[in-house]
Subunit: 349 residues, 2 copies
DNA sequence: TTGAAAGCGTTACCAA
DNA sequence: TTGGTAACGCTTTCAA
């Protein structure tokens, strides 16, 4: 009937005392050291659960020099793209007994630096960067590339391992899809060009247009959320692009959120989708399956990216080495109604 | 020109040695102890930045017994409702130098328990519950209600402080709005009824219907995501409710995600929104502003809930007492086109 | 104003 | 198989 008889604070020494053994024995028993016989281990475990003892992680961390925590740095966890990546990271981490801290920089360099410092102070063993930047406090930390990985967005400085899709190839597929449907006046609402990801998409769009003998028509948005997409589309419709007064018959958006905003702007102008104007998104958010019309998009395996990122990071930390430098995950063209009927296979070879 | 000359590992003792003072002086200087004169403090700070020294947080935590970290427990961070709450929590926490861990239980009790244990092991100083349950390992921890707060969902066990809106009143507003537009056959797609939040909404819906002399028509969904909403609406349309073969002229959905799925199902049946059937959501997600049609909804101040929750928790931790037991935040009816024109003020007094 | 020293609760090495 | 014990790097009390 022994319950966690709420005393001040149970330490390992208390458990050892009750069990009539030394703390070192308790410590070993709790980490299933093979030298401790089963009888002893069971007896100790029983006392542990009766007393409600819990290992003081801060003492353990000080002693071992490891925290078993990692930090995910991103700009903005409320951007719909990220939570699923974070959840993927958590899936793997929690299986391995590793905690996940989340830090949203919100564009503040000060916050980014503060987060980077967490690695120096031993709060975390590693970093997963979703924002494409290594905090500058870490730039000249020796071997920092062994405890940092980048996911989705590559990092300019240094040689940080990266998990991503081939953004250029994904855009190839998007543009070719639209071309195959007969469109010739195809615009691109691009994301922030300081991001290599959005730059890669925009560059690939231009390449594809030019090799099809068509004029690229790019509207760069400063962010990649709904509002930005709405405004970008409005200005795109107002401007009339290369040939003044013309409007695109198809718009490839750098994110699904941009696409949702842009489709709204188009409808407000009385345009029918896809009858008057077709849309393609990027990301494959769940909401795209039920939008009006459902959105043709490039599905990015967000959860899988999280899995891969966490695996790679935890492996690198465990082995103290840098393994793969780049892991590419497959994307998928999801054909829905925002572009009309499909006339090509979902995935080129 | 001294740079962080990458030596093995700089400790406070090293800094003290270089400065020609004792570690205790360094420790004091770094926490701006008034006893340390400015000259000394500046000299020490200079050495700190030259050597790239960073305080070992694990040692500090062991010594002080505080971690300056909190943990947010939720079911599923990829449900669109939560990230903004988490971001609100982070806003406040990072200002106060507190780190935020995120734990998604994904419905697993084992994971929930593991997270609860983080409080016992000193990994975190407090918990913010977004899932309405206190991990059972904590139920008989003395004074656990001083380091746990619940946000958005109340907790059945014990007296955990709560930040929320008045879900019942919010539903009053939603139902009255729909009634005022002339609807009489109003259905409710409810969320999981083990959650007090969704139960409060469903109960309030029924109360309002009955006092209007109308028959409640509730379809309970097991979750509150898009797919669930889609399926619930399909089955609702198939069943025909009280009067077989009838269909509602308005549907109040327990979440915006449910509403998006449900609207899709309605459109698939060829119903016009709001001409044939009106919809109301709950949450006020950004996407609702650009859905087709834009969704009338109850906006819940998610970020503000996060702010309030973090403030309350950090205050309780600092003062070692339990302050307010309940803080109610205002909600807002956002009238858009999914119900047709508004005929009542946005907020009743 | 500064220094010395005693822990904080573990882990892991060395003996037994 | 077990025990004793020295760290881990910091904070803080007590003296000087």
């Amino acid at each position: 009937m022994a319950r966690s008889t709420s005393d001040a604070r149970v330490t390992m020494a208390v458990v050892a005392h009750i069990a009539g053994v030394d703390v070192s024995t308790v410590s070993r028993a709790l980490k299933d050291d093979p030298r401790i016989p089963n009888v002893t281990r069971r007896r100790i475990r029983k006392i542990v659960s009766e007393t409600g003892y819990a290992v003081n992680q801060n003492a353990r961390r000080l002693r071992t020099g490891r925290s078993d925590q990692i930090l995910v740095i991103l700009n903005n966890i409320s951007a719909t793209f990220f939570p699923e990546v974070v959840e993927g990271i958590e899936d793997i981490s929690s299986d391995r007994g590793v905690g996940v801290l989340v830090g949203s920089t919100r564009g503040s360099v000060a916050r980014e630096e503060a987060m980077g410092r967490q690695l120096l102070t031993g709060v975390v063993d590693g970093l997963i960067l979703l924002n494409g930047r290594v905090p500058s406090v870490l730039r000249n930390m020796p071997n920092h590339d062994r405890c940092i990985v980048a996911v989705s967005r590559s990092v300019a400085e240094g040689a940080i391992p990266l998990i991503s899709i081939d953004h250029g190839k994904a855009m190839d597929v998007a543009v070719q899809h639209v071309l195959s449907l007969g469109h010739r006046c195809i615009a691109h609402i691009a994301g922030p060009q300081e991001s290599p990801t959005f730059r890669a998409r925009a560059d690939s769009y231009k390449r594809n247009m030019i090799s099809a003998g068509l004029e690229p028509w790019v509207k760069v948005a400063e962010r990649f959320d709904i509002d930005t997409g709405f405004l970008a589309m409005k200005s795109l419709l107002a401007s009339g692009g290369a040939a003044p007064g013309s409007r695109p018959t198809a718009v490839i958006c750098a994110s699904d959120e941009i696409a949702f905003g842009a489709m709204r702007a188009a409808r407000q102008k009385g345009l029918g989708i896809p009858a008057d104007i077709a849309f393609v998104g990027f990301d494959g958010l769940a909401i795209g399956a039920v939008s009006e019309p459902p959105l043709t998009t490039i599905r990015i395996p967000r959860r899988q990216m999280g899995w891969a990122g966490a695996e790679m990071l935890l492996d690198n930390i465990a082995t103290q080495t840098k393994g793969e430098l780049y892991r590419e995950l497959p994307f998928e063209l999801v054909v829905r109604e925002s572009c009309g009927a499909a006339v090509m296979p979902a995935l080129p070879d």
